[in-house]
Amino acid sequence: MNKYYLGVDLGSTTSKAVIINEQDEIIGRGITNTRANYSVAADIAKDEAIYNARFSILKKKLEAEIKSNPAYSKYINDLESVFQYEQFKIRLDKLGEELLKTCYTFFKDAAVQEKMIQHLRNIRKAFKPVIKHEYLYNNLGAKNQFFRDIVSEKYNDEVNKLEMSLFEPLMTVWDKSISPAENQLITFNFKELVEKAMDELREKYKNIPDEVMENTSVNFDAELNLLKGNFEKVYETLRVHIDEIAGLEFNITNMTGTGYGRALLPFPQECIRSEILCHAFGAHAVFPDTRTVLDIGGQDTKAIQVDRYGLVTSFQMNDRCAAGCGRYLGYIADEMSISLNELGPMALKAEKEVNICSTCTVFAGAELRELTNLGEKREDILGGLHKAIIMRAMSLLARSGGVFNEFTFTGGVARNPAVIKYLSELVKENYGDQIKINIHIDSIFMGALGGAMFARRNMNLSLPTGKAETA
């Protein structure tokens, strides 16, 4: 039987889980937002990783077919996306129950109760088809893809359309309901959901020609027709394989927990490891020549030096304040009422970097308003903010010993293109052109990957003594 190993990285903003096989290959990734109940967050990330592992095994099984018919790969991706929608529907029902419960306890008057419940029904009716469409056609885009973010955005939009006096009560009902709904652990039946998803996809491909009539070129139309025909052809084959992967049992041989909330994970003591060790180990596994690792997470920034085995020789970490970390960017995005993922692309458009004087997250928010009022462009202010983050990271890097070839950047913030731009500039400027900078598409999963790899090796490591090893 195959042996699998799990690493869970419980961060301050997101919880990540990675499953690897005995060859240290990642076969499943799961991510969710961290919530009040840490163990639920960890379990959801783990479940997601297992679902993802099933799909990646499906892809592996169909490798030959995918090579001869690339459309297969699209079908599997579509299937995974619709499968997520099926999960989403169940979560939405649970949230609906919570909203009703809150309505009954929060509003004492029966007439008000009825009125609010009617509004809630209308809101749900309005956004459900929109979200379905986004999932089915992969339109969720660059926005955050967690349940809470998706629903709260739509809910907000709908409530905003109603009259002002309804805004506060409806938002209060939301606030009181979302957390209990989010903290429930729902066990999904993989087989049932994936079958529903298959039916849903079949419908989608059947209806394709009607959908594209008016707005697409003839070429595209023909391509879609082809997709439609193909799907019917592969449907049966896919079904057989899906039955197989749904029946697979995932025996997690060993696991490791890491991250900000690791002490709260329901893992035995020997299965908990510091995220500094895990990030370094994960980054080193993906890029074996790595000597310096920079990890910018939600609340902390770490500059780590590793030896050629991926073990930590020295590190520096920010203290006290989250300014210059992911949460800082999240706060700024909130201030500007844009989503976190739009922040980086916007900052890339900066023509200059406005100097940001505040060293505090909250005050930087106030400074941002002031600068906007003074007529500075949002792009330029954001450019300054991003550069400020990297300046802080550079000083941590310097204190940890400098930057050595190769240099790997991990953590959630490594997804931000503007951060990458300023980082590359400043590393080149300070440490020369010879440094190779690695940024992996899975940079956010590095900690969880490192954890899973520790789990496989079952290594007993102690923290370094703080003195850098002389190579």
Binding site: N156, N160, M164, S165, E168
Partner: protein, 115 residues
């Protein structure tokens, strides 16, 4: 009418000064993620509707806080002045005012005329 646009809440008060000052009505709204300028305008309108008034019927629309973003207003005042005035309205003998806002706690001394 007075409107105070804070970083979290918008506060609005309507007063009648014809004979002696009477506080007619007040309203607060949490901004959450709404556009404060738009929300403030909506609040002014709904308050006017409630009293069957038009914008032109207002003798003075005063703003404070971040109220200088409002397009239609007669005057904008600093938070320190307006907080002192408001405190003085309710407690004429007060000589020290403390304001705990979202970002800054402020305290100041005032004289008999709330200066």
């Amino acid at each position: 009418m007075g409107i105070d646009i804070g970083s979290n809440f918008i506060k609005l008060v309507l007063m009648d000064y014809s004979a002696q000052s009477v506080l007619l009505d007040k309203q607060t709204e949490k901004i959450r993620k709404r556009n404060p300028e738009q929300l403030a305008e909506e609040m002014i309108q709904s308050m006017l509707r409630k009293f069957n008034l038009k914008y032109e019927d207002l003798a003075y629309l005063a703003s404070t806080g971040e109220g200088d973003m409002l397009k239609r207003k007669r005057g904008h005042f600093y938070g320190m002045t307006t907080h002192a005035k408001g405190a003085h309205y309710f407690y004429p003998d007060a000589r020290t005012v403390v304001d705990m806002g979202e970002y800054f706690p402020l305290s100041w001394l005032v004289n008999r005329r709330s200066r």
